[in-house]
Amino acid sequence: MQQPFVLEHKTGHICGRFYAMASPCELLIDTDDMLVAQQLVALAYQETKRIEQKFSRYLPDNIVHQINSAEGNPVAIDDETFKLLSFADTCYQISQGMFDITSGVLRKAWRFDGSDKLPDDSLVQDLMPFIGWQKIHFDQHQLRMPKGYELDFGGIGKEYAVDKVAQVCLQAQPTISILINFGGDIQITRARDGQQPWVIGIENPLNQDKAVKTLSLYHGGMATSGDSRRYLLKNGERYSHILNPHTGYPVKNAPRSVTVIAEHCIQAGLLATLALLQGEQAEAFLKQQQVQHWCMR
């Protein structure tokens, strides 16, 4: 049987690649042992696929599908789903409602295809009653969501997968440093031996031919949020795909891309997304958080 991933010897490490969650996925493994690397990449692939199948909004018969089609009835949830919902709840609270995993329903109105087709305001207003995380009630065992509402873990799914894969890899090989990179969302399982960093090139999303800079990451995670391809352009005004759940409209003057370094990938991802939601004040917000970051406008 053909493997869904490829492995390659690089200088000082082995690189494993596969495609999942609509993104190129890469593992850099600080070892020369091909068998160990193969075992790790297989494990990573398995874990990624598990999370994708469980939480993707686009796949049938998973927990998200069950919740979104429950029409107001309670749905039983497992511990992992409960933890993700709790995390989403924290994000909602600390962002004062700006990060809301029910706002995905707005996708019915907004199609960010690079065109100038803005939706009718009436269409947006019709969807507004179906946004509001405070209407969702859940505990450790079940969730109840009003009819017409939709949950979407798209804003945290990939970062969560990166962190989970890092955890699984660290458990399997606690002494080997592994860098997990899912399309720019990155987590390192542990520091490499001998103060060696992993070297990462940050791309400029506006011009993908040019790496903006390389940076050395020793441990921790990094994530990037942006709208390199997902936006609308009308009368010279750019509508980013970051939607304000309070208005139903894109956030104004948001940076095109925000990259943040933090202890965990998902933490970095949320900081980047929350920064985008700040629009013009993204840089000021990140500065206040005292995290290392890069904004591109």
Partner: protein, 74 residues
């Protein structure tokens, strides 16, 4: 003889840099070049000290960087 050798190196580089667009690497291939020891100005403190010594002991200075202001040692 030595002089000619030096010029040959220079001509060789100019020819290769201007003639071949495939020179260079992609951003993700910079893992080795990004190492501190591969920077052209690695060991800059050492070279600063050396330059100062050679500046005061030899007739030629500069080349890699500005020889800058002088000192009374020359």
């Amino acid at each position: 003889m030595k002089k000619r050798f030096g010029l040959a190196i220079i001509v060789g580089i100019v020819a290769t840099t201007s003639g071949c667009a495939s020179l260079g690497v992609q951003p993700w291939e910079r893992d080795l070049l990004a190492k501190d020891e591969m920077a052209l100005d690695a060991d800059s403190v050492d070279s600063g000290l050396d330059d100062h010594i050679y500046f005061s002991k030899e007739a030629t200075s500069g080349g890699k960087a500005f020889s800058g202001g002088g000192c009374g040692c020359n």
